[in-house]
């Protein structure tokens, strides 16, 4: 692991679900930077440093006045560019008075923020998260904000689904996961774990969704896009119907979606969804799938949540070099390699003060 912060700053990170950003002040910390988000009258999203230039009170404790934020302490006003437009008790404005404005873009029903050098913010570097658009794939997810673990633990969790057998037994877990061979591949920006389980008994969750008797072929094709996105193409089809060869028409196909942002070095925000291409208009199914994932502690992601936070607490109490690795960790290790590489590249070319800013 490169020294210093465990995340690159010059990247798009998810900051909020689009629907969370209203004409109201929404504080959120990303990569250790306190940011306040709000919906602008023109429909855009503003993302400002959440600390007044004057005395550092969080601007999120102030109020929104149209397209400007009024500090709740002395009434300094900042516009969506972070420039001060009003100072109390003087008729001019100190030209140095600014708060940082972070590049923010809304895409795939999420708001993405670039915490690093704004000059490098490149919309073409946005991760592909189109499964979340609410069009071809359907599903309504949620978010764990301020999850108390290093964001990379979430990546680890999703890149190795062996854990399903133990953490999620009774729903998606299955001993077959342990027996099936898997393959890990990578590009310079992605890592992919592929596992096919051929001719197995359907695990309860998938058996219900498939609604057909008999044994199945099950797939898990999980792709990490550095640094912040994991998409898992998952599903089952009746065995022998050619799913592995490319014909999934007899099966059911879902995708678990994760966009993860470091909040601090030991906490993160995890925006998740589970979407599908079958029974897309079945709102009851949409609802039950959401509750299957998060339901006041009973969903599968609630189970992960407990594990991840407990793992972070244990890491804090066990200062040995992070972990020992097993062969099942190859996907996670490739993902971490790609993250480390982004961090190292950023530190090598550490440009203008922004690196530390």
């Amino acid at each position: 692991m490169a020294s210093g912060q465990p995340f690159p700053l010059n990247a798009w990170y998810p900051a909020a679900w689009s629907h969370e950003v209203q004409p109201a002040l929404l504080p959120r910390t990303l990569c250790g930077r306190d940011i306040v988000l709000y919906r602008r009258p023109n429909g855009g999203v503003a993302a400002l440093e959440d600390a007044c230039w004057h005395r550092l009170l969080p601007l999120s404790m102030g109020r929104l006045a149209g397209d400007e934020v009024v500090c709740g302490y002395h009434g300094l006003v900042f516009n969506a560019s972070g420039r001060c437009t009003h100072m109390p008790a003087q008729s001019t404005i100190n030209p140095a008075a600014c708060v940082r404005a972070y590049p923010a873009v809304e895409r795939h029903r999420l708001v993405w923020v670039w915490p690093g050098d704004p000059a490098l913010a490149d919309e073409s570097a946005m991760p592909d998260f189109h499964w979340n658009d609410g069009t071809e794939w359907r599903g309504e997810g949620g978010a764990f904000t301020s999850l108390k673990c290093d964001w990379r633990l979430v990546v680890d969790n999703l890149m190795d689904l062996t854990h399903e057998t133990y953490v999620h037994s009774g729903s998606i877990g299955h001993d077959a996961i342990l027996d099936a061979p898997f393959e890990v591949t990578h590009t310079d920006r992605t890592a992919t774990m592929t596992r096919w389980m051929i001719d197995i008994d359907a695990p309860p969750f998938w058996g219900r969704l498939l609604g057909k008797p008999g044994r199945v072929d099950r797939w898990q094709i999980v792709t990490f896009q550095a640094p912040a996105v994991v998409v898992g193409d998952v599903g089952v089809a009746p065995t022998g119907t050619g799913a592995r060869a490319g014909d999934r028409s007899q099966g059911v196909n879902g995708a678990f979606l994760a966009a993860i942002a470091p909040e601090t070095e030991t906490s993160c925000h995890y925006f998740w969804n589970f979407v599908r291409t079958f029974r897309v208009d079945d709102d009851q199914l949409t609802d039950s799938l959401r509750r299957g994932h998060v339901d006041e502690g009973r969903g599968v992601y609630d189970q992960d949540h407990v594990v991840l936070e407990a793992q972070q607490r244990a890491i804090a109490r066990n200062p040995r070099t992070p972990f020992y690795n097993l062969n099942i960790d190859a996907g996670a290790l490739w993902a971490r390699r790609l993250i480390d590489r982004l961090v190292a590249r950023e530190q090598a070319t550490r440009a203008p003060g922004q690196a530390a800013e």
Binding site: S81, Q90, S91, G353
Partner: protein
């Protein structure tokens, strides 16, 4: 607010750009923090046997890991520029990490950069950054005479025809209102230059009805409408009469005479060091950007960090009770 002077560097090279402007390359010992466009370094200077702090804009992105600053030698210098000019390769210099009060915001449809004299130093960095970002912009660079031009060849090489040079002796003043009129409605202006240029720009901008926050400017408070002359300062409340030499600021003179002052930015922006004017023999050369035109005309107060008297005497009050 000043940055912490917590780093040390050594002068690697100096280069004289004009008879009065010298480029100084500083190789940092404590690690390099690359400056954002518009950044400055605070450096520790010696004025006689007394340490003081001066700010100089960083020139360009400094991609090789050495800070470049340009220092204009001022006739009426308080001593900082003379000290900086005394540095030679190998000289040690305590300095801050780069700070930035004049940051560049990318993503606007159009930009006008206005530089006057030594004010070209931060604007140089802005121009290079805009060029690199592929932005639409123009740079108007005004100088009194051709021999005062610094970095003009480098600018021409980097940004070509986007640079327009206006030599005062040859073409008179920049048509600021005309330049603003040419700018896209959502464009921004960045100005660094003498107070006269700043005030012209502020007035023209206000008259154009454009949003005030899109006029960005920085001033070092170094230049005024009138030359710096010595004058007498009277403070009846304290029974003091202080001589203010041409090379010392009012604020420095007050502090040197044991008058306790509160000051912060020391470049005419925050207004903390302003004192009430009780009497005047001469005119007040308001060099700050804190007071409005109307307030300056009323002459009720002045910012002691940068403003001066062109005349023989001023009488001020202090907050002592």
């Amino acid at each position: 607010m000043a940055e912490a002077i917590d780093r040390v560097g050594f002068v690697r090279a100096t280069r004289t750009l004009t008879p009065t402007i010298r480029l100084i390359e500083i190789e940092p010992v404590d690690g390099f923090v690359a400056p954002t466009p518009g950044s400055h370094l605070d450096v520790s200077v010696m004025i006689g046997d007394r340490p003081d702090v001066r700010s100089y804009s960083v020139v360009g992105p400094c991609a090789d890991g050495a800070y470049r600053i340009a220092v204009k030698r001022l006739e009426a210098s308080r001593g900082g520029s003379a000290y900086m000019w005394s540095l030679a390769p190998g000289s040690r210099l305590a300095h801050s990490a780069p700070g930035n009060h004049f940051g560049l915001t990318l993503g606007r449809p159009d930009y006008l950069l206005l530089a006057g004299g030594i004010g070209v130093t931060p604007i140089f960095s802005h121009a290079l950054a805009l060029q690199r970002a592929g932005a639409r912009f123009r740079l108007v660079y005004a100088c009194r005479s051709r021999s005062d031009l610094a970095l003009a060849d480098e600018l021409r090489g980097e940004i070509g025809d986007r640079l327009e040079i206006v030599i005062g002796e040859e073409r008179g003043r920049v048509d600021v209102a005309g330049e603003i009129a040419r700018l896209d409605a959502d464009g921004e202006v960045y100005v660094c230059g003498p107070i006269g240029m700043l005030e012209t720009a502020r007035r023209a901008w206000a008259e154009s009805g454009r949003p005030p926050d899109r006029l960005r400017f920085e001033t070092f408070g170094a230049s005024g409408r009138w030359p710096a002359v010595p004058f007498a300062l009277k403070i009846p409340r304290l029974g003091k009469e202080i001589h203010v030499p041409a090379t010392q600021s009012l604020l420095d003179a007050l502090e040197a005479a044991g008058v306790e002052m509160i000051a912060d930015c020391r470049r005419g922006e925050c207004g903390l060091c302003a004192l009430p004017i009780l009497g005047l023999n001469g005119v007040v050369d308001h060099r700050d950007v804190f007071f409005s035109d109307a307030e300056k005309a009323a002459n009720a107060k002045l910012c002691t960090c940068v403003s001066r008297v062109y005349g023989s005497e001023i009488t001020l009050d202090t907050p002592d009770r």
